[in-house]
């Protein structure tokens, strides 16, 4: 940490300016507009499943084929969606978020090195 003039706060980087830069705004928007809707979706789906298991027990105990019940299939569905969301997020983060984050990070490191 170096003492710095008013334009560059401690650390040599004006973080407020970085935060307002279009690249960072893009990164932030892409991150939040992906994770929050997805969070709402999986939470709603999970609590629908929990509420069905709590109050619609007859429906959940309905047999689909043999001893396989609706509840068992919906429960396994929770596993499928959890694995699916995980893979989707990893793909999205690797392809859409990481490149921008790396670009900004390199830029900041250059600023710090050159300051």
């Amino acid at each position: 940490m170096s003492n710095s003039p008013s334009t560059a706060p401690p650390g040599g980087i004006d973080y407020v300016a970085v935060e307002e830069s279009p690249r960072f705004v893009e990164l932030k928007t892409k991150h939040r507009s992906f994770v929050w809707p997805l969070t709402v979706v999986f939470l709603v789906w999970y609590f629908v499943y929990v509420l069905l298991s709590s109050f619609a027990t007859d429906f959940m105990a309905t047999r689909v084929s043999g001893d396989i019940t609706v509840g068992l299939l919906l429960g396994l569905g929770q596993f499928v969606t959890t694995f699916g969301i995980t893979m989707w997020y990893v793909w999205y983060a690797n392809h859409r978020l990481d490149p921008i984050a790396a670009e900004i990070r390199d830029d900041l490191e250059r600023q710090e090195g050159g300051a």
Partner: protein, 540 residues
């Protein structure tokens, strides 16, 4: 189908199992892990080495360690047993533990890794006032660790009577003490690196053992889930027999109780301090993401295995036999192992169950010690003016103190009903920790007052509601048996305390007069998303 059943019956009636064999297998595990811990301890010099294993683990390694930390004896033995006896409801319970990881993956892991150093408080105090926020975060961390630790130590006593055939109070106390001493040794010598390796080895054995048993069970049932379910229904003691295929046997009496528990599970995981601390053992946010992905796959697959094992235990051992066994429902998995592979497999699974307790208590202890030494001692008491090795020295002393407290506590609560402690740990993590973590990462106008209100409020609400609940009063299984009446009707406080934690965080922030430093907030946001200036791996 009759021969394994007979084998189990004879085993239970006569020898139960072979303690010498169990102890030898367990001894082998201890010897191997001690060797690893001692090897891992060579480079434990700095605080980053001791608390965060030099940030040198890879994503997959950390994913295994997270699974090792998370799949406690309660989740292995408890869920298998719950499925074996109550069928579907046990499965329902396990799903909350898995889905919760999406909160950690999407909202917490990477941003935490980018902004913190060792503890949860590092992230929370980044742009808020150091002293009050660190103190509050350290108190909630210590509370969660203490509740969880006590539950694990108490569980150790119960496991002993089941697996080693030791039924005397004194014998059980000795084993609890052995577990405590081993844990102190692991954490003292190995630090985070040693602890992590113990968890990796344990997760590997646990998931491997469960996989072998699952394939075995499926082979007996012609690799058909339907045949497995049919044989489980055939031995079912519920009324009607096929009730185990649908929900209601365990949570049917009071659905709101389960809903409250489900909320605590899904929001609690990403606020568990010993899980959060694991994100600092990897070099980058990308590796933190990979660790959570590995953890989700491993934990998910493990719960799918427990589904087969649970119904398998119902089919091959029978719920009646399981309920009457010394360890009650917890004995489902060990008895299934005995039915399948005889005393050797039983010994192996028993040793894995012990290893599970050891690994989980070690992880909790290093988290609690880090929080005390790093947050309370170094940053609150000494205001950051500590010599480089001073903090680690305090952390090591804390480990010994926590170990001794855990042994005394573990012996003290033996034969008490302390199952509620795990639920309480999750409820506190969800009510006190998660709201502050989410707010400080995502909400610019979050203030110190909001953080402090949310943490103390969430913690107090969770504890007060538990004390007023049927866990303590009025029922056959209460702490005070058949005494008084519960003011709060549910066993789990989550449904009230979690929204309250979020509400207090918001309220405290909007009534704060002074805003926090906007430059700090900007810095935190930039760092959390880009990883700029994040703690690097230690190069030796």
């Amino acid at each position: 189908m009759t021969s394994p059943l007979d084998a189990v019956k004879t085993a239970i009636d006569t020898v139960e199992n072979d303690p010498i064999l169990n102890i030898s297998i367990f001894g082998a595990f201890v010897a191997v892990t001690l060797f690893i811990v001692i090897r891992a301890s060579r480079n434990n010099k700095t605080a980053a080495d001791y608390y965060a294993a030099g940030r040198s683990f890879t994503g997959p390694q950390n994913g295994f360690a997270i699974s090792g930390d998370y799949l406690s004896a309660a989740s292995f033995l408890g869920i298998c047993g719950a499925i074996a006896v109550n069928g579907y409801d046990g499965f329902l319970y396990s799903i909350g533990f898995l889905v919760a990881w999406l909160v950690a993956l999407l909202l917490v892991a990477e941003l935490m890794r980018n902004t913190g150093k060792f503890t949860m408080a590092d992230v929370l105090s980044f742009r808020l006032k150091q002293t009050p926020v660190r103190m509050a975060a350290a108190i909630t961390t210590l509370a969660v660790c203490f509740f969880y630790l006590l539950a694990q130590m108490a569980g150790a006593g119960g496991l002993v009577s089941l697996l080693l055939g030791i039924h005397e109070q004194i014998g059980q106390s000795i084993v609890v003490a052995v577990v405590g001493v081993l844990m102190i040794v692991y954490v003292l010598i190995g630090g985070m690196k040693g602890t992590t390796w113990v968890q990796i080895v344990k997760a590997f054995l646990l998931i491997g053992g469960a996989l072998v048993m699952t394939i075995w069970v499926l082979a007996i049932n012609g690799f058909s889930i339907n045949t497995l379910l049919e044989s489980a229904v055939a031995t079912s003691i519920s009324d009607p027999a096929d009730a185990i295929l649908g929900p209601g046997l365990q949570y049917g009496k009071n659905p709101w109780d389960f809903i409250s528990l489900a909320i605590a599970l899904v929001f609690g995981t990403a606020g568990l301090p010993h899980v959060l601390m694991r994100f600092y053992t990897v070099p980058t946010a990308k590796e933190a993401r990979r660790s959570v992905v590995w953890a989700i796959w491993l934990i998910g697959i493990f719960y799918l295995l427990t589904l087969v094992l649970g119904y398998g235990a119902a089919a091959l051992v029978g719920p009646e036999t399981i309920k009457n066994a010394p360890g009650g429902v917890n004995s489902a998995a060990p008895l299934l192992a005995l039915a399948l592979g005889g005393p050797f497999l039983l010994g192996f699974i028993s040793a894995v169950a012990f290893a599970t307790i050891l690994a989980v208590v070690a992880g909790l202890t290093i988290t609690a010690a880090a929080s005390f030494a790093h947050d309370i001692y170094a940053n609150v008491v000494k205001k950051g003016a500590v010599p480089p090795d001073g903090e680690v020295k305090v952390a090591r002393r804390t480990v010994v103190v926590i170990g001794i407290l855990a042994i005394i506590g573990g012996i003290g609560v033996q034969n008490q009903n302390v199952a509620f402690l795990v639920a309480l740990a999750f409820a506190v993590a969800a009510s006190a920790n998660l709201p502050t973590i989410i707010y400080s990462l995502f909400w610019r106008r979050f203030t110190t007052r909001g953080a402090v209100w949310s943490m103390y409020g969430g913690l107090a609400a969770a504890i007060v509601l538990i004390v007023l609940s049927p866990v303590f009063w009025g029922t056959e299984t209460s702490v005070f048996k058949n005494t008084g009446t519960a003011i709060w009707p549910l066993n789990n406080p989550g449904i009230i305390s979690i929204p309250l934690g979020f509400f207090l965080g918001w309220l405290g922030s909007v009534v704060s007069r002074s805003d926090e430093d906007p430059r700090k907030a900007a810095e935190m946001e930039v760092r959390s998303l880009t990883g700029h200036g994040a703690e690097k791996a230690v190069v030796h």
